[in-house]
């Protein structure tokens, strides 16, 4: 028998869900609110919530002091580039793991994931040196490569999960129909896995967009993305909370909007295969 849901219970559940949602969203909301305050109001005690003199001053100062568009463009290239490069590499890898698994496939998958367990700072020194030697420090290319490598295990894992849901017989049919391996992946597998590929793409753009460790350590000025843009407003000499908040709001706005419009795709992609 289905569980009976009383209206009271439903209302309570809704209230709890909203409560948790607001709790999670609160830091972002606070940041956005602070970005409209003056520096004095931003650090006032007790803090003011909504009743302050709304001002756009912080935004104009931030815009004057640094070139937002340059950072934004770097972020777009680094997040987009690393994700697309990662997908191109991961599709054949996930194909072979999903459709021609060997005894070691599971081990390889786990090993790939285990690279995510190492704290990033553990390999900072060697990677920094490699970057210097190769002359790719503070270049967008360098960051595309390093972020692609960081997220590759996740991309492969996600695609592997989606591919496993595709019946092998359809790929065999393509093979019988005369498709080469490349054509099989291009015309049959990829279009069929498109929902999965799209959500992998979205999630990885978000992860790469928000990645702060490598982007801060491996850039200085030329290739610095929005994470560096935020960081440049948190200085030890004196904290300008309102300006820092304005910079943060500007940095997260594009990805928030992207996430908002693609949330349906993201959720359906992430729960894909969970229920059958």
């Amino acid at each position: 028998m289905a569980r009976a849901v009383t209206p009271q219970r439903k209302a309570l559940n809704t209230a709890i869900a909203w409560g948790i949602g607001l709790l999670i969203f609160f830091p972002i909301l606070w940041t956005i609110l602070t970005s409209f305050k003056t520096e004095a109001q931003a650090i006032s005690d007790p803090p003011v919530f909504l009743f302050f003199d709304w001002t756009l001053e912080n935004y104009s100062v931030v815009q004057e002091r640094s070139d937002y568009m340059r950072f934004l463009w770097n972020s777009v290239i680094i997040a987009g580039g690393s994700t697309i490069l990662g997908i191109i590499i991961a599709i054949p890898a996930a194909w072979s793991m999903a459709f021609v698994p060997s005894k070691r496939t599971k081990d390889i998958l786990l090993w790939m994931l285990s690279t995510k367990m190492l704290p990033a700072v553990g390999v900072l020194y060697p990677i920094y040196l490699i970057f210097i030697r190769m002359g790719i420090l503070d270049t967008r290319l360098g960051l595309v490569v390093v972020l692609m490598l960081i997220n590759l295990p996740i991309i492969v894992w996600m695609l592997y999960t989606y591919f496993r849901e595709i019946p092998g017989e359809i790929l065999e049919a393509a093979r019988m129909d005369g498709a080469s391996l490349k054509e099989e992946i291009l015309y049959v597998l990829t279009p069929m896995a498109m929902p999965g590929i799209a959500s992998t793409l979205l999630l990885n753009i978000i992860l790469a967009w928000n990645e702060a460790f490598w982007t801060l350590n491996l850039t200085a000025a030329k290739a610095a993305p929005l994470t560096a843009f935020i960081a440049s407003y948190s200085s030890p000499e004196g904290l300008f909370y309102a300006k820092l908040s304005a910079a943060s709001t500007m940095a997260i706005a594009p990805i928030l909007i992207l996430g908002w419009f693609s949330q349906k795709q993201l959720v359906s992609g992430l729960t894909f295969g969970a229920v059958k």
Binding site: E169, I170, E172, A173, R175, M176, D177, G178, A179, M194
Partner: protein, 334 residues
Amino acid sequence: MGQIKLESVTKSFGPVEVIPPLDLTIEDGEFTVFVGPSGCGKSTLLRLIAGLEDITSGKISIDGQDATHVPPAKRGLAMVFQSYALYPHMSVRKNIAFPMKMAGVPVDEQNRRIESAAAALNLTDYLDRRPGQLSGGQRQRVAIGRAIVREPGAFLFDEPLSNLDAALRVGMRLEISELHKRLKTTMIYVTHDQVEAMTMADKIVVLQAGVIEQVGSPLELYRAPRNVFVAGFIGSPKMNLLTGPEAAKHNAHTIGTRPEHIAISQTEGTWSGTIGVSEHLGSDTFFHVKCDAFEDPLTVRAGGEVALKYGDKVFLTPDLTQLHRFDAQGLRIA
């Protein structure tokens, strides 16, 4: 175009040998059915011919050419899968066009072949639909259409009708048989359903545990099964197989008699028994008769109007001219 020859072909999955050395020739234009119980290796054998599985040793030749290491796409064979394996993201038209697109057939020619295949398979009105919007029978037709347009050397069918309901199955069976008569292309058809095998095949290959038990025309197999397994497998309802003193009377370890070769009477006969379950098909009635002399009930065919009911005493008389005799190894005694 389409003689397929297997010479000492074997297949092992790890340490498990699923096909011991096997030789088989399928002649050009023949409709050959591989039949056997589940797990007998019939689908594996088909996949070996298709090239979807590599053989462990031996040789496969198609039209005299060694195809052992030729990839599936280059063998000139088309396959219809049990699950239809249509491309869900493509329209029916694109599904059917796919093998031609891969082969680089000019678009005009592609369209001509699509139209003619669609007309032959009653798919003309559905060309712009997606497979998800079609019924099971229509999907199967699309899969067949996709196979036809390639003009392959041979068609391979892997239990193509087992996902259809009974009525559709009979209809599709006729369509496939008719297709074969029209195209005269070699067809290899895998099924576990001996009725399909009997009704469609020119040649039946009965398999058990990867071993060919017998090869022959449906009636050859029916009339002269080479061993007890084939005797029991071919024919519906099954042949009655008897061992013990009754078999010894005929100098055999096992004797077999088909349901239609036993006369049923209420007054006299060789074996006495009582009627158990009876199956009325209208044209025929199958009685399951529990005889005093045997442990298992015998199946007997009688006319559709025979009025016997549960518990009636009857006598059975086998037609001795139609008796099958087998030795202790299960092999037929001539």
